[in-house]
C-alpha cells in the first residue's frame, strides 16, 4: 500500500495533470447539478404547457420546450440524476461481482481459473448494449433493472481486469510471505491482493462509469430506460428525433449533456492512467 509520502507525490502529480483536473471540475459540476436539480431547475420537469410546444430557445426557456411543452433545461438538469445514478451504481454492481470472480480465478489458477475464463469469454461475446438490452427485455423497464442490466454486462470486463492484475502480483514476495506464515487464501486475497490491484481497477472504473452512462443513454434512447415522464437524456433525444428538422434543439441539448458527462469521466480516467503509467505520461 502507498505510504503517506507516496500519496502526496501522487496527489501532486494528479494536480499537475491538467486533463484530470479539468475532468474532475466538470464531473464535480455534473454531480452538483444532479444533487441540486430540484432547486436550480427553473420549472417543473414534468408539468406540461401546450402553449409553448416545440418553443425554440429563448430567455424564458434557454433550451426550448419539447412536444408536451415541458421546459428542456429543467428536464436536462433532472435527467443528470438518472445518468449518474445508473453510471455509478452499475459500475459498483459490476465491481462487487467481477472483482471477487477475477481475483479467485487469477489467484487459484487451474480448473477454477479456466472456469472463470470461460465465463468471461461467454459474456464478453455480447456487446454491452446488446446484453443490457436482452436483460431489460426480459425484466422490463425500471431504474434498478437498468442498473442490474448494465452491471451484468460490465461484470465480465471487470472480472477480466481483476484476474489479469491478480496474476501479475501473485508471484510477488509479500504474497509468498503471507502464504508462508500460514494465512488462508481468503485473507490473502482480501488483505494483500485487493489493495494492490485496486488502483488499476479504480482507473478503469472511472472509464466504465463513462461507458455505463453511454449505455444507459443508448438503452433509454431505444425505449428501455426509466419510465416516462421521468426525464432521461437518451429518451429526450429519441423524443426530439421526430422534430429534428424543425426543432433540432430538442435532440442537440440532451446529447450535449450526455457528451459532457461522459467526457468528464473519460478525462479523469485518462489523467489517472497517465499518472499510473509514467511511460505514457503526457
Amino acid at each position: 500500500m502507498a505510504t503517506i509520502s507516496q500519496r502526496a507525490i501522487l496527489l501532486r502529480t494528479f494536480k499537475s495533470n491538467k486533463t484530470s483536473v479539468v475532468g474532475l471540475i466538470l464531473a464535480f459540476c455534473v454531480v452538483m447539478i444532479a444533487l441540486t436539480a430540484p432547486w436550480i431547475s427553473p420549472y417543473d420537469p414534468i408539468s406540461q404547457d401546450l402553449d409553448i410546444q416545440h418553443a425554440p430557445p429563448s430567455w424564458g426557456h434557454p433550451f426550448g420546450a419539447d412536444s408536451y411543452g415541458r421546459d428542456q433545461l429543467s428536464r436536462i438538469l433532472w435527467g443528470s440524476r438518472v445518468s449518474l445514478v445508473v453510471g455509478i451504481l452499475s459500475v459498483l454492481f459490476a465491481m462487487a461481482a467481477g472483482i471477487p470472480l477475477g481475483m479467485i480465478g487469477g489467484y487459484k489458477g487451474g480448473r477454477i481459473d479456466s472456469l472463470v475464463l470461460r465465463f468471461i469469454d461467454i459474456f464478453m461475446s455480447f456487446p454491452i448494449v446488446i446484453l443490457g438490452l436482452l436483460v431489460l427485455a426480459i425484466m422490463g423497464p425500471g431504474l434498478i433493472k437498468i442498473v442490474i442490466a448494465i452491471g451484468v454486462a460490465l461484470t465480465p470486463r471487470i472480472a477480466r481486469l481483476a484476474r489479469g492484475s491478480t496474476l501479475s502480483i501473485k508471484g510477488k514476495e509479500y504474497i509468498e510471505a503471507a502464504r508462508a506464515v500460514g494465512q488462508n487464501d481468503g485473507k490473502i486475497m482480501f488483505i494483500h491482493v485487493l489493495p494492490n490491484i485496486s488502483g488499476e481497477i479504480l482507473v478503469m472504473g472511472t472509464l466504465w462509469v463513462a461507458t455505463a452512462i453511454i449505455v444507459e443513454a443508448s438503452l433509454s434512447f431505444i425505449g428501455l430506460g426509466v419510465r416516462p415522464p421521468t426525464p432521461s437524456w437518451g429518451a429526450m433525444i429519441r423524443d426530439g428525433l421526430d422534430q429534428l428538422t424543425n426543432a433540432p434543439w430538442l435532440s442537440i441539448f440532451p446529447g450535449l449533456a450526455i457528451f459532457i458527462s461522459v467526457f468528464s469521466f473519460n478525462l479523469i480516467a485518462d489523467g489517472l492512467r497517465d499518472i499510473s503509467d509514467p511511460k505514457l505520461r503526457g
Binding site: T19, V129, L134, A137, A210, L244, I252, F259, K279
Partner: protein
C-alpha cells in the same frame, strides 16, 4: 498454422454453445412465456394455447431445447411470433446492411486512426499531440447515436448532401454506398478515436524499446527506424484489439441503424424488443454474438500470422 486455427475453433465451439444455451433459457423465463408476451395480457387462453402449439412452445422445455439445437445446426432459427415468417430468411436479408456498416466503419477507423496515432506519438507533448488526444477523447465520449444525429442534421438536412434515411437499393452499388456513407462515417469517427489512442500508446511503448534505440544508434535514418522497426511492432497489439473493437462496432451499429433507418440486424433486434417477439430477439442476439466470435477468431489468426511466436504459447 492450420493446426492452430483448428485448435482455436475447437475452443470456440463450446463457448458458442454456452452462449446459445444461455440466451435460449433466459428468453424462456419471460413472465408467462414468449407466447403470452407476444400476444399481450389481454389475449384469450385459447389463442395463447394455439400459438404455443403452433410454435412448439407447449412441449417440455428440454424437448424444446433439443429441437432448437437441432434446427439451429441446420440453419433454421424458428419462426417469428408476430409475422410467422422464418427468421433465418429475414436475417439473411438484414445481415448485409449490418456487415456493410460495421466493415465500413472499421475501414474508416483504420484509415484515419493509425496515421493519427503515429503522428500523436511522434509529436508527443507538442500541439499536434494535444489536439489529437483531445479530439480522440471527444470521439470516445460521443454516443454513436448522438454523433449520427449531428451528422444527419448538418450533412443531410441543413446541407442535403446525403440521404437522411434508409439503406438504399442493395443491388445498386452506387446507391448502397451513398446510403452507407453517413452511418459508416458515424461509426468510423468513433473508431478513429479508439484506434488512434491504441496506436499512440503502443507506439510510445515501442519507441522506448532497446531495439529501437539500437536501430537509432546504428545511425539508421529516422524514417527507417519509425516505419521498419517501431511501427511494425506497434501494430501487433493494435491488431489484437481490433477484434474487441469489432464487438463495440456491432453494438454501435444497432443504434446507428435506428437513427438512419437502415434495415439491418440492429433494427430487427429493436423491433423484436418492441413487438415482444422473443423468438426473433433470441435469434438476432445469437447471430450477433456468433459474429463477435468470428471476428475474434479472425483477429487471433491474423495475430498468429503477424507474430508467429504466438502459436506456441
Amino acid at each position: 498454422m492450420l493446426k492452430y486455427a483448428i485448435r482455436r475453433m475447437i475452443y470456440v465451439l463450446p463457448t458458442l454453445w454456452a452462449v446459445v444455451t444461455f440466451v435460449f433459457f433466459l428468453i424462456r423465463i419471460v413472465p408467462g412465456g414468449p407466447a403470452v408476451a407476444a400476444l399481450g395480457s389481454y389475449a384469450t387462453e385459447e389463442s395463447i394455447r394455439q400459438l404455443e402449439k403452433q410454435m412448439g412452445l407447449d412441449k417440455p422445455i428440454l424437448v424444446q431445447y433439443g429441437i432448437f439445437l437441432k434446427d439451429l445446426c441446420q440453419g433454421d432459427l424458428g419462426k417469428s411470433l408476430i409475422t410467422r415468417r422464418p427468421i433465418s430468411s429475414e436475417i439473411v436479408r438484414a445481415l448485409p446492411y449490418t456487415l456493410d456498416l460495421a466493415i465500413g466503419g472499421m475501414i474508416i477507423g483504420i484509415l484515419f486512426g493509425i496515421p493519427t496515432g503515429i503522428l500523436t506519438a511522434l509529436k508527443r507533448n507538442r500541439p499536434a499531440d494535444y489536439i489529437g488526444r483531445i479530439l480522440s477523447l471527444v470521439g470516445i465520449s460521443m454516443p454513436e447515436f448522438y454523433l449520427g444525429i449531428l451528422l444527419m442534421y448538418f450533412l443531410a438536412i441543413k446541407l442535403p448532401l446525403f440521404p437522411v434515411l434508409g439503406g438504399g437499393d442493395f443491388g445498386n452499388l452506387g446507391s448502397r454506398l451513398y446510403h452507407l456513407f453517413l452511418p459508416a462515417l458515424t461509426l468510423g469517427i468513433i473508431m478513429t478515436a479508439f484506434i488512434s489512442r491504441m496506436v499512440r500508446s503502443s507506439m510510445l511503448n515501442v519507441l522506448n524499446e532497446d531495439y529501437v534505440r539500437t536501430a537509432k544508434a546504428k545511425g539508421l535514418h529516422e524514417r527507417t527506424v519509425i516505419y521498419k522497426h517501431a511501427l511494425r511492432n506497434a501494430l501487433i497489439p493494435t491488431v489484437t484489439v481490433i477484434g474487441i473493437y469489432m464487438s463495440i462496432l456491432m453494438g454501435g451499429s444497432v443504434l446507428t441503424e435506428i437513427i438512419f433507418s437502415r434495415p439491418g440486424l440492429g433494427k430487427m433486434m429493436v423491433f423484436a424488443v418492441k413487438d415482444r417477439d422473443y423468438i426473433a430477439l433470441q435469434s438476432v442476439i445469437i447471430i450477433f454474438s456468433a459474429f463477435v466470435f468470428i471476428f475474434n477468431l479472425i483477429t487471433d489468426l491474423l495475430y498468429s500470422i503477424i507474430d508467429p511466436r504466438i502459436e506456441y504459447h
